[in-house]
């Protein structure tokens, strides 16, 4: 199917609102969309969302012969898949520019940066090693696939546990099932983070925006994808041209990326650890991607509206005129002092993106279409519906 065209009006409206300091989704220029991480019932499966962008990463392993050039290192292979599910114009089974680029970003950030301790994946030098296979599938393409894929991949790899093995005296290798012996976690030395900046030109002046949505990606002049880890190392840089930039602007973006990278890395680590400890303590088997554990895009949007309504209510209570506040804020933050815009971020993403906090507290209230015990939460549901009714009117 053909790509949905972006009309000239939409294009100009998007660009001019960015020139005016506003984004369609009410974010500040340096604000990253909400991150959630969910883990599957087995080890090494992670579904990450970055706003509406949704990526599934799955790690599997098998015993293979090592490369002759590196006899005591395990192998890691990464494959990126895009199906029409991600966006209707993508054709199944065919490589396209997006896949090629994502593959390059992931290869550099995860494979070439050697963030994974491949030597610990060796079973017997020159004989057998573990090969980890990382499959990254984009489920919904709503912009900034690089960051989302990187996020899901890193979380899946950190979450992954491989089965224990014993090597017999005669060199035979026995792989124990997860029930027989405790599986062994992978060891990731550093957490690679990927951050994307989009650039918009307003005459000679350049506006930098973080984490562009799909619409923004279609109208932006150029972008910079930085792969880095919180230790201060750059694992990949991709500024594929399409526009001219001053060196200083680029470098200042890269420098600023580090503060952000720290919080993102913490989010990932925290989410993985939370899930792993839960698996250890709770005797019940993890339910994985059950419907009630994942948040749909509709619910995400409703949650965004709820948040805005809550915020506005709070403002009214404090006798602040909401309209003025909202209009001034982005201008102050981004136009007058573009350098400091990041610091003025009121709520860093770490707080909002911690999986248990924001989204899932809402999720408890979320209506679940659960057949067996659907009736239990009727009360909650009604309350919720009243609320959503309110919000919609509020916004009108």
């Amino acid at each position: 199917m053909k790509e949905v065209p972006l009309s000239t009006c939409e294009r100009t409206s998007l660009v001019s609102s960015i020139h005016a300091g506003l984004r369609y989704d009410h974010r500040k220029f340096m604000e990253v969309r909400d991150i959630t991480l969910n883990f599957g019932k087995d080890f090494g499966s992670c579904s990450a969302t970055l706003g509406e962008t949704r990526v599934l990463a799955q790690v599997t392993c098998e015993v293979v012969e090592p490369r002759p050039s590196r006899p005591n290192e395990g192998k890691l292979s990464i494959a990126v898949h895009l199906s029409p599910m991600a966006a209707p114009h993508l054709e199944p089974g065919r490589t396209n520019d997006i896949v090629d680029e994502l593959q390059q970003i992931l290869d550099r950030n995860i494979k070439e940066s050697r963030c994974l301790d491949l030597e610990s994946l060796c079973i017997q030098a020159e004989e057998s090693v573990w090969q980890l296979r990382l499959d990254v599938t984009v489920l919904n393409h709503a912009g900034n696939l690089g960051d989302a894929c990187n996020l899901a991949s890193v979380a899946a790899l950190r979450h992954f546990h491989r089965p224990d093995v014993t090597v017999e005296a005669d060199g035979r290798v026995t792989v124990h099932t997860l029930e027989e012996r405790q599986p062994i976690p992978t060891f990731m030395r550093k957490v690679p983070v990927c951050l994307t900046y989009a650039f918009f030109m307003e005459g000679e002046h350049c506006i930098t925006v973080m984490d562009p949505t799909e619409q923004e990606e279609r109208v932006m002049c150029g972008r910079l994808v930085v792969g880095l880890n919180p230790h201060g190392e750059i694992t990949s840089l991709l500024f594929p041209g399409r526009m001219m930039m001053e060196k200083e602007t680029l470098l200042s973006c890269i420098r600023k990326a580090f503060t952000k990278a720290k919080s993102v890395a913490e989010t990932v680590q925290q989410a993985v650890e939370d899930d792993l400890t839960q698996r250890k303590t709770v005797s019940v088997k993890p339910r994985g991607y059950e419907v009630k554990n994942l948040r749909s895009d509709t619910d995400y949007n409703r949650w965004l509206i709820d948040q805005r309504v809550d915020k506005r209510k709070l403002m009214i209570e404090e006798n602040v005129m909401p309209m003025e506040e909202e209009m001034q804020d982005p201008f102050e933050a981004n136009v007058q002092q573009p350098e400091d815009s990041e610091d003025s971020d009121v709520n860093p993403p770490a707080t909002s993106s911690k999986t248990p906090l924001g989204p899932s507290s809402h999720k408890k209230k979320k209506k679940e279409s659960v057949m067996a015990n659907g009736s239990e939460e009727e009360g909650d549901e009604e309350e919720e519906e009243v609320k959503s009714k309110l919000t919609a009117e509020d916004l009108l």
Binding site: K2, I234, G241, R242, L250
Partner: protein
């Protein structure tokens, strides 16, 4: 083996901030609208430009500006190990990057509704392949007479412990990073930045600066070659 000897020289006898031998040539072939060849040390690249001409797939046509496409391929014996496929995911990703560079450099609005194809052939790869491809493509575009904002030059740099090194060979890039910077030398602005392997943030500034210096040196060689070519063809340089 150390990349830099105790005397401060690299394995091929260069100082850390010295470029390899560069030679380039314009106009090798008749069929393409523009063609060029560049040799940076042992890295050898051939580029051909076809266009501006009619857009081949109408769905890509843009009536405001031209479509720029790039395809990069490698010959089987371009490096130590035999390359099985002339094109793979890696070359496709690099092709995208090269096309992106020229999206910034070509005056696209001058050629509405048309297409410019850049084909790059890597004959021998020994570090700095992307930058050699970009330099060769720039020369081929100049030979084709496509309007550019400025020359486009590209150069690589790396860092060995604390010494930044310019124009790395394959062997040198194994131990460190490889930062490729492409820029418009007269405007001084960057059109592409690429980093493979890990590099520390504190060292980024030095490395990029060195690569940009290298770009200016390469620019001199390239513009010299273009001038000689024009003189040979008895063409007059309009701004002289």
């Amino acid at each position: 083996m150390d990349v830099i000897s105790p005397e401060g020289l690299r394995q091929d006898g260069r100082t850390p901030t010295c470029l390899r031998d560069i030679s380039c040539r314009l106009g090798l072939y008749d069929r393409p609208n523009g063609s060029a060849y560049i040799e940076i040390g042992n890295t050898k690249v051939l580029a051909a430009v076809y266009g501006p001409r009619e857009v081949r797939s109408l769905s890509k046509q843009n009536l405001d500006e031209c479509v720029i496409q790039c395809e990069m391929s490698r010959i089987a014996a371009c490096q130590g190990e035999r390359v099985r496929r002339p094109r793979d995911q890696r070359t496709r990703a690099l092709s995208l990057q090269i096309a992106g560079v020229f999206h910034a450099a070509i005056r696209k609005t001058k050629y509405p509704g048309s297409q410019i194809d850049i084909y790059v052939q890597v004959l021998q790869a020994d570090g700095g392949v992307t930058s050699a491809c970009i330099n060769a493509s720039a020369l081929a575009l100049i030979h084709a007479g496509v309007e550019l904002m400025d020359y486009v030059v590209s150069c690589t740099a790396s860092i060995n412990k604390t010494t930044p090194i310019l124009d790395v060979t394959q062997q040198e890039s194994v131990t460190g990073c490889e930062v490729t910077v492409s820029m418009l030398p007269n405007k001084g602005s960057v059109v592409s930045l690429d980093c493979a392997h890990t590099l520390h943030l504190d060292q980024l500034d030095e490395v990029v600066d060195l690569a940009m210096e290298g770009c200016q040196q390469i620019y001199k060689v390239m513009s010299q070659e273009v001038e000689t070519y024009l003189q040979d063809k008895n063409a007059v340089m309009s701004h002289q």
